[in-house]
Amino acid sequence: MTLSWLGHATILFTLISLVLGALDLLVSLRRRSLAHSRWFAGGALLGILSSVGVMEFALVSHNFSLAYVAENNSRFTPLVYSITGMWSALEGSILLWSLLLIFCLVAVVIRYRREASDDVVRWATTIVFAVAAYFLGLMAGPADPFVATVGTTSSGAGPNALLQDNPLVAIHPPLLYLGFVGFTIPFAFAVAMLITGRVRDRWPLELRRWTVLSWGALTLGIVLGAWWSYQVLGWGGFWGWDPVENASLLPWLTGTAYIHSVIVQDRRGLFRVWNLSLALVTFALTILGTFFTRSGVLQSVHAFSSSSLGPLLMGFFVLTIGGGAALVTWRGDELRSPVGVDHPLSREGVFVANNIIFVGFAVVVLLGTAFPLLYEAINGGQVTVGTPYFATVAAPAAVVVLALMALAPAMSWRRSTWPVIWSRLRTSAWVAIATVFFLELAGVRHAVALAGYFLAIIAAGSALRTLSGLVRSARRKQRTPWSVLLGPTAGGMIVHLGVVILSVGIVSSTSFVTRGEVTLATGQSTVVAGQTLTFNGFAVVSDAVKNATELKVVVNRSQQLRPAITTFRGREGQTVGTPAIDSNFWRDVYVTFDAVGGKGSTSGAQVANNLPAGSVVLGVTVEPQLSWLWIGGIVIALGSAVTFFRRREVAPA
């Protein structure tokens, strides 16, 4: 019994459990009988855990009888990177996706076990079974992770160099996938609600909670991905508007729109059709994201090797959109609410503007990402749509979003008047303009950055005002502040604060970045943007996995950095630059080993023949407040976790 056979058996077992689970539910819906979801979900869980177990066992024990292990692992790969090797290439990534999806299936079955006879639950569970079966089907056929190695291999190729020099490879993909996969549940419930026509009572709230959970995981996943890129890719940037990055942003954008417009539905029963459509579209966009990552139609640093999965994934996307549209058309009329938005200057109005911006921006990002393909099909040439375009479109959108964040908490429902809004924002507005004035006195004259700070401060003030209002109302009722600070409103304001911190980080680090290349001889120092860098010589580090030539660099005479050029052992012997970062609250100093002088060395670094031996060329990037991005991301994640606490009583707004 070979590992390959065992792996195939577990995949088949899981697939059959899922298909039978879906069929069983359909039968129970027809016959009005009990379903046996827990057994089929349990079977699927057992199956997928076994599949993952077989793969991880093979990776950790460096068993090269599996082709996947031979290509992504080697005899000297450390334990951590052997484990993470499971998702470092295409077929294994689908295994991870399926594992998380089946976890979600089990979560749904357990959570609603007491309402298992409710039609909405039955339809929703059927959909989740079906989606999981689709992904298992991919693994049973075109994306098989358990293909046996042909011939013999004594030592594997090892993982890609960029996937084994940073521990974030263990956290970012699972978290990101959890975000994507999580949106299957709101999708399943949206479809179930449309099929059964039960679009009121408790289901919208359930849908909303699952969406917030997935959205939180996706946000954290994207932020960690940006942090990882920042740490390894060598240019001090964290977002490249790369097709795969854009694809992960699309469901995040529509998810954000949904989270806001569903608050209006909660309050006033509006936008039901729109919200259900957003839930369907968000899931469809996660499938589109999978398509961009795995079809190979667009070049990307993050894409897996191309495969025949493209048409299959696109087929699924088309099915989801078409089916969803059909359902919404069928039930649309029943969902319409008799009332509408009273006035644009109201909380509802701001949420409408929010939706227009987020969904509109998603459309623009999708268009920009697909444009090179359109251009090639029509004009035959190659074009690139890169940062200049996306940044030009994103900047005004971000400004509007910050302004909306500033206004919304200060607006009343149904209709607000400007004097009332002004009275609520007065303090923040004066603080904001005073801060801008002092920054200008200090010499900062970058107009866009100042506008960003200005709006960010008002937005933060608005959120803090709401939070303090909650605490005051709690005190009045003689309750502890925690009873109100743990709840959806407070959570939402904390998320807004996180977004403000993140935005300030982005504005500062992109507007006031200093980039340069400095040449230093051993023992020499230089100053870049107020930071002193000293080069103290070379060091060679060698272990079972890699061979690196490090430079001993000291920042501001106290922080030790070791930028390096690292060569990973393995069949292809990949060489990558390893940047070194000195990070604190106020700025990041990002140093790369760019070239070495003289006649060269065995480091693999680029050679600058006209420089004396023993001198090096360092790439230095100084970015103010870059760590605020990561801090902001964590605050956002905390805020979304806080929204899960239910309020003991509904507080008046």
Partner: protein, 179 residues
């Protein structure tokens, strides 16, 4: 009226998304940048000159006007360059016998010591010039070695190869250019 406008807008939106989906699903895999033909084909090659590796002289493309030139970018750290080095030497030698094409190598982003060691190991039978700071590579749009250009007697770029070439490929290309 408003309801109909919304439904129409929705239907239009769905239709656009579906068309985009079908369009994307029928795209072929993106070509590697290296497999695309050089935009310089049919253009006169830019002026190139540099100091010769291992000698104190300089060489330039303009001095070779009137000959067919095979311009080859290489580096010692590049695996496929090692594979094609013997082929290039064989080709260069055979052409020298019939007073045919001239092979001119360009050293791309390499240390002089290691480059010299490379030529000694593979017995390169043609001159190579040093590309200081990558300027020559940039003039020809070379992104990574090995990249080879075939330039005719009038200095016009007629063929380009990215990746290791064989003596047979070069012979065929040079014959096509000479005729």
């Amino acid at each position: 009226m408003k309801r109909r406008a919304i439904s129409l807008a929705g239907a239009l939106g769905v239709l656009l998304v579906l068309s985009l989906g079908l369009f994307l699903g029928t795209r072929h895999v993106a070509p590697e940048a290296s497999s695309l033909p050089s935009p310089l084909l049919g253009q006169v090659a830019p002026a190139i000159s540099g100091s010769v590796l291992g000698a104190r002289s300089t060489a330039s493309l303009s001095n070779l006007r009137g000959h067919v030139v095979v311009l080859n970018f290489w580096a010692s750290w590049c695996g496929p360059c090692a594979k094609e080095a013997p082929e290039l030497s064989t080709f260069a030698w055979s052409q020298r016998a019939v007073n045919g094409a001239v092979v001119l190598g360009v050293l791309y982003n390499d240390s002089l010591d290691q480059a010299t060691a490379f030529t000694q190991r593979y017995g390169s039978l043609y001159t190579s010039i040093i590309d200081k700071d990558g300027l020559i590579a940039n003039k020809l749009g070379v992104i990574s070695p090995p990249t080879t250009f075939v330039i005719d007697r009038h200095g016009v770029v007629r063929a380009s190869f990215v990746g290791a070439v064989t003596a047979a490929q070069l012979s065929a290309s040079v014959d096509a250019v000479t005729s």
